[in-house]
Structures are given as C-alpha cells and as structure tokens.
Symmetry: C2
Subunit: 330 residues, 2 copies
C-alpha cells in the first residue's frame, strides 16, 4: 500500500506514521508512507526505507495532485491551521483548511482516472464544529453551529468528504476528534492549548497557567486513543458508516480541577507547584462554549474506544512523551 | 440604497426586483438595483431608470468585486446551479454554488475597506440541506446530512454566511426556502420541478406527468410567500437572528394527490385531463428523502408567514403568472 499523511510531521501525523510502520495499516502491508507537511519535522522520525518526506503547500493543487499520485491507497488528511490562527488570519485559515481540503479531495477524485477503487480518506474534524445552545451531550445528531472560523472550516470539510464519498470520488470518513490531551511539544495557538500545558509543563519542571476555572468540564481523549481511532477508521469498510461519513469519536469528560488533581497524583507537590490559575475571560468563554460530554453510541458500535480517566491519560503522557519532552523543551 | 441581486433574471430574482422597485426595501429608498445573471432576462422587466442589468460569471472574483462595488448596501445572493445539474456536473456545481458564494462573500468583505457598515446579505438556501433519517418535522435544530451536491453546496454556503457574519464581514442571513410551487416558466433540472409542472402545464392547456405517488407529502411555499420572506429577511436587524444566521422558512405540507385535486378544483376536468401519473423510482427516492413537514417557531416569531393551503397557492399562480405563462409557453 501507498499511504499519504498530510500534516504528517505534526504530532498526530508522526504518531500515526510510527504506528503504521510498526503495526501495519490493517488493510495490507505498507510499502510507501509519505509524510507531507509545510516544514521539515521537528521531532525525530524512525529510520525506515518506506518513509518519504515531502514539504509543500497543501492549498497548491498541483503539489497535492503530485503528492496523491496514482497508486495511492489511503490518505490521512490532518493538515490544518489551528483555531487561534484561523480566527486571526481569515485568509490563511480558509486557504489551508478549506482550499487545502478541496485540493486533497480533488486529487483523490483524479485517481479515478487510473485506479478502479477510490482511495480511503481519513479526515480529522473537531469538536469545534459544535456551538450555540448545546444539548447535555453532543454527537452525530447535533446540528452544527460552529463559533469559530476553524470550526466552520472543519464542518465544511465534513460536508465535502460526505459529498465526495457519496459520489464515489473517495471513500472518506470524517472523525470529530475530542480535545487531545496531553499533547507533547510546546503551546500552540489553539484555545485548548492550556489543557495540555497544565499537565505537560509541570511534569517537565516548567510553569504553566490555567486560564479557566476548576469547574470547567472538557471532553478529552489521549493521543494514544486518537491514533488508535484514526488507524481503526482507515480499516473500516465505507458501508459501515451508513448514511453519514461524519462520526463523533468517544471522549471522556473531566473537570479542569480534576486534571490538576491528577497532575498532583502523578507528579507530587513539586509538579503541582508549577501550576497557577489566572482566569482569561476570552479563553473561558470559548472553552465554556465547547461540549462538556459526547454521545457516541455509533462510534462505540463501530469499535472506537475511550480513555478510562485522566490518571490513565497522564500515565500515557509520562510513558510516551515525557522523556522526549524533557529533551526538546529543555 | 444600492442593492444587488445575483441570479437577478431568474424567476425569484426578477420578482424580488419588482417588489423592491414597487414597494421599497423597508430599509430606505432604492436608488440603484442591479440584476446580475449569466444570461439576459427571458422575462420582461419593468422600465425603471433605477434598474441595471449586468451579465457575467458569478465565480469570477473580479467580476463579482466590480458588481458589489463600494456603496452597495444589500445583496440578495440567489444565483445557483439547480440540483439536477449540480449532481450531474460536479465541477460546475462547486464552481457556481461554492466558489460563486465565496466570491460574493469576499466582495462584501472587501467593502469594509471603504464602508463602515457591512452590507446586508440574503442568501437563498434550500430544504436540500437536510437528509438521512429525518425527524417528523425538520428545522433549525436538525443536523444537516445533505444527500446531493446541491444540498451540500447550500449547507456550505450557510456555514460561510454564518462565519463571515460572526466576523462582521457581512450582515448575512441564510434562508432555507421550502420547495417553491407554482414556479412559472418551463421545467428545469431540479428533482422538484414536477411539483410546479403538474399545476402549471395543465392550467396552460399542456400535458404534464407526475413521477411520484399521490401519497407523497411535500413542504411547499408559493413564490409570493418566498418573495415576502426574502424581502422581510432583508429588513430584520442581524441581532434578531441570535446565535445562527441560518433560518428555516415556514412552508405548508401537502400530499401530491391533494395538489392534483386542487388543480381539478381550479381548472376543472379539462385541466385534470392533462395530468398523467408515471412513477419514476429515481425521482420518488429523491423526493421521499425530503422533509415532509417544517418546524419553524423561530421564523414565525421573526414574522415570516406561510401559505394557507394549496388552493390559495394555485390561485396566486393564476393571478400572478398564468397570463404570462400562456404567452411564453405558447
């Protein structure tokens, strides 16, 4: 198989790549794995002759057409401008998150000229598609009223994946990822970035600030669980998704105060002392607008799992990322 | 005021124009009214020095930027490729219905460089945004799973109108129009075209074929009511729409058999004899996937009305369109 991962040098893309190289795709042996991104990888990648890096602009249709070349069996489309940046730079957000997604979809569609079977496409959507007055738990039946350009662009991508799949141009699936915690690396411009920082930085011996109240409840999933979900989604037949290719992935709900308590349980008083609370009304308003709980019976029936609790998620971070985090954040 | 109507030579655009010229916009005197379309008008337009026609390509950004020139106060964006055509010609559908809408929105946004207040935009969406397993009555809270490219493109347009309005680039409102009956003119490539043909053609002395069963229930509105709704929407302040600029307009539900009965009541046995029934499984499947009833408490609270029944709607057609219909269909 030939598999392309856009945003392949991002933290999720890299992890999906490592998983595919180590454990296969579930669809057949991986012969070539192409990581596409707008910059060279900041984190180490495995030495593997199947791995290939391509740097370029996801919104450039010729580039993407050459990337998703004849013989491509599957695409993970993870490349995106994050929420804070898409909000601040409207043109950039639409260029990368909408034009880029269209370029990927049209490149997949163009494969139909030579390949009999449309490629599988796994598209990373987000909880940011929800907004407005939300029910107690959101899911596949919730009407989408995104409150950010990023959420809008993810909702646009879902609609496109559905239409192109219905027409047989691609065999797509759009997964609404819960907020991913604990992300390794440094803070980014996503409004959710504090949820990782408040655990990651203190465990690495650095200070972090929590801008929301301890009572704020978020719906989360660990990177391990998200990577499991992305790879699992690739292996499912398109028909399994039924009437819609959009799917809310499971997450677990936790109060931010409980996240701080888990930090203390894992890292002791020394780690806890690195965390301070400094309310930011803007961030509080954004995060309070996000869903607090996820209703995911369809995803569960399709075999997607959830993390047990925040302590397990913190343990995953310590096992998977803390050594590298100490090395790179130093 | 300077008002632009895209699709201004289409049957709704023309009628909105006549209404604005005769009765004003509700926002202020109309000084210039520009009808933009891809072809010259087929139907007569009033002699009015305020009226101006521009022909061009809605997806050409320079054209649209010149069209929505500084000083434009309001835009009705009605231009679209209809459902049958958008389904058959994917590229054309996306070009007109998505790229065209983006061109309109970006031209409105560009006005912000010179005009302090964003222009009002009325965008015509459609029941085609709904699909999949529908509740008994659909409305603003229904999750959108469009089953056609046209429906997808209308849903994309709604999301864009919402995001651009939230950011203050435009003061938009996206109205989900019920199926419009009785449309004047000739059949088009919309799957719903029979619903007008089955009344229009027999009353004009021509044969028509109904491709669905008499039990099929549809949610309809008359052109008069739709034009009322479009103009009423222009006059509402943006804040009236609350958290979402998307709004399901009211319609009335009627079985196709009852529509045939109304035809007989209005046109007698002579008209009824022109209607024959010839099931088309493809059209039946499409129409059966459409909502049978509309839940529109929000629109009603905002002052949008509905037609009383199919007899009233047939009477409107006879009063408003039948003379011209006889003349042009002859």
């Amino acid at each position: 198989m030939r598999i392309v991962i856009t945003g392949g040098c991002g933290f999720l893309g890299r992890r999906v790549a490592i998983r595919l190289l180590e454990q296969g795709s579930g669809l057949g042996p991986v012969d070539e794995l192409v990581l596409f991104d707008n910059a060279a990888p900041a984190l180490p990648l495995p030495e593997d002759r199947r791995l290939r890096l391509i740097t370029g602009d996801i919104a450039d249709r010729d580039t993407v057409r050459r990337l998703i070349a004849p013989g491509t069996d599957a695409v993970f489309h993870l490349a995106a401008v994050v929420s804070g940046q898409a909000e601040a730079d409207t043109d950039l957000g639409y260029r990368v998150n909408l034009d880029g997604t269209r370029a990927v979809l049209d490149a997949c569609r163009a494969l139909g000229q030579t390949d009999p079977k449309p490629p599988r496409l796994v598209f990373a959507s987000s909880l940011a598609v929800y907004g407005g007055a939300l029910p107690a738990a959101v899911g596949d039946d919730t009407a989408l009223y995104p409150q950010t350009s990023y959420g809008t662009q993810k909702a646009l991508g879902e609609l496109l994946v559905n239409d192109y799949s219905r027409k047989g141009f691609v065999d797509g699936r759009a997964l609404r990822l819960p907020t991913v915690v604990v992300r390794p690396g440094r803070p980014n411009r996503a409004a959710s970035t504090f949820a990782s920082s408040m655990i990651r930085e203190p465990l690495a011996g650095q200070d972090a600030v929590c801008p929301v109240t301890p009572e704020t409840v978020m719906a989360l999933a660990s990177p391990r669980r998200i990577v499991d979900g992305l790879v699992h989604a690739l292996g499912l037949p398109g028909a399994a998704f039924g009437a819609s290719r959009s799917l809310q992935l499971p997450g677990f709900s936790v109060a931010v105060g409980e996240m701080a308590a888990a930090l203390r349980r894992a890292g002791g008083a020394a780690a806890a002392a690195h965390l301070s609370w400094q309310p930011d009304p803007l961030i509080q308003a954004i995060v309070s607008g996000w869903p607090r709980a996820l209703a995911t019976p369809r995803a569960e029936a399709l075999g997607f799992g959830r993390d047990r609790d925040i302590d397990e998620v913190v343990r995953f971070f310590i096992e998977d990322d803390l050594p590298l985090q100490r090395q790179f954040a130093g």
